[in-house]
Assembly symmetry: C2
């Protein structure tokens, strides 16, 4: 492990409303860049690029700063912050979107501050693939470009997404999304097709079933941590990505060993995230807890 | 590893009809006891108790005998063999039952031959929980009783099933079934409730996502082997159980290490089973292939 290189994160910053069988919160701070940044901050410095409106709470800004998240790239503009409202069913695996108000996020154009442009680790959160490319146009020589996307872009902006993927090293997406992107239900064949699109590394998030890491023919399968106290899955995927990229940013070499450890670190962070609403659990999280759960993951899978 | 103790298997022996997007077979030899026995036979001797009709093919009897499966307990009676016909969808995860004809299986009463009654490892396949108890009444002092069941009995014969579970050491069951049995979607809490019913060990089969092993608070999570050539999932669960019990029957001590290895052996056998229709892949399987895939499972999960 070397000193962590700063990680550049671009994505949404939101004020969500969440209902689960275990309670509700409205508003609660959310957004892909937020979950990612808080998670990655446990591994090293983070530089956030996003946009919020006038209603974004000052305590959240302070909380991010306190966690070594550089907010020079966080635009604050007139209007309201992006809002997503959703309700989960009793299994916490299905959700309905009750409301999506893009607000200030609708006209968001990522502007990378000069001080961020030498970033070696870039995370492109789930935004328009064209905007993802505009971020890559503004950074100089990243060592690793990691991207997320979703069904909305796979269906509605496939050509643009394919253009972006040519410039991506690691694609981190959900299982159903990789099937949709590759048009193949079989995950091994789907991974081959994604490799052919550009990303040499593919991480498939499978929720409560864990994650798969594909590097060409080589596969690593991480199981999720069986938890009895899941209350809110919102942001778990971005929290996973934050642990994954944060872990890699402090490695001297991004080899197979580093990538496997990064998937476990992502899984560790995701497993904490779902134990509280929004960022509530991550805000209380400590380094010893992370190390202890990493060890528990080893115990969970060793034979 | 010591010399394997014989394993007693009780369950269905069937002639199935299977349709998948990759082809169809009608008839093809199936049944829980059949898949279990062929799988377990790669680890040591097996004693099968079941029933077939006059139409059961002689080549299948010879195949089982050649694989060290003792058929003294296989009743052959007038009538037709149990038949199940089903069709899988393009994902191979959903299936519809087209036909179920119990035939000679309808009046099946397991009779354990005297030579089988000292069996130390007993597998109770998915049959009426009352019949499962009648098997236990006939064996003398088993070292390990392993049982399977299904939603049909959980819904329709819960009290009888609960009686059986009091006498079971290891319950091997699907994820949706354990949720139904415990009336709890959360798998960790469901496992606690199953422990309270009797089984000190619970193995939860999760199909393409692998398996969980619960021993009280201790959990082991095995991932499934990502395969690009799955053609027929029929019997994969019983094949898993065969590898699991067969592996345990050759261990000197049934401790945590042995149980974890057994889950991997079960996963290895299940991963081969789905590569062919019915028993086709298992019939061609070799010991070096089993050892090679066991090593691949280690590589798959190590970090």
């Amino acid at each position: 492990m070397s000193a962590a290189a700063p990680v550049l994160a671009v994505g949404s910053v939101a004020l969500d409303a969440i209902e689960t069988p275990y309670g509700s919160r409205d508003p609660i701070v959310g957004g892909s860049a937020t979950f990612f940044s808080v998670s990655a901050s446990f591994f090293g410095p983070v530089r956030l690029v996003g946009v919020v409106g006038e209603d974004f709470p000052e305590w959240a800004v302070t909380m991010l700063r306190d966690r070594r998240v550089d907010l020079q790239g966080l635009q604050r503009v007139p209007g309201k912050t992006f809002r997503w409202a959703g309700r989960y069913d009793g299994t916490l695996t299905q959700r309905v979107t009750l409301e999506t108000c893009l607000n200030v996020f609708e006209t968001f154009r990522p502007e990378i501050p000069e001080a961020y442009r030498d970033a070696k680790f870039v995370f492109l959160g789930n935004i328009d693939p064209g905007l993802q490319r505009s971020v890559l146009d503004q950074v100089r020589s990243p060592r690793l470009v990691v991207a997320d996307t979703m069904n909305f872009w796979i269906e509605g902006a496939r050509e643009s997404l394919v253009e972006t993927l040519k410039r991506v090293d690691v694609l981190v997406i959900n299982e159903e999304e990789v099937r949709q992107l590759a048009d193949d239900f079989n995950i091994v064949r789907a991974a081959e097709k994604v490799h052919a699109m550009g990303p040499r590394i593919l991480v498939v998030k499978r929720g409560e079933y864990g994650a798969l890491l594909f590097q060409g023919k080589d596969v690593f399968a991480a199981t999720a941590f069986p938890l009895s106290n899941v209350v809110d899955p919102t942001g778990a995927g971005d929290t996973f990505a934050g642990g994954f990229v944060g872990s890699l940013a402090r490695e001297a070499e991004i080899d197979d060993r580093a990538l496997r450890r990064a998937v476990i670190h992502g899984s560790v962070m995701g497993s904490f995230s779902v134990e509280g609403f929004g960022l509530e659990r991550l805000q209380k999280l400590t380094q010893p807890e992370i190390e202890s759960r990493f060890a528990a993951f080893r115990r969970l899978s060793e034979f």
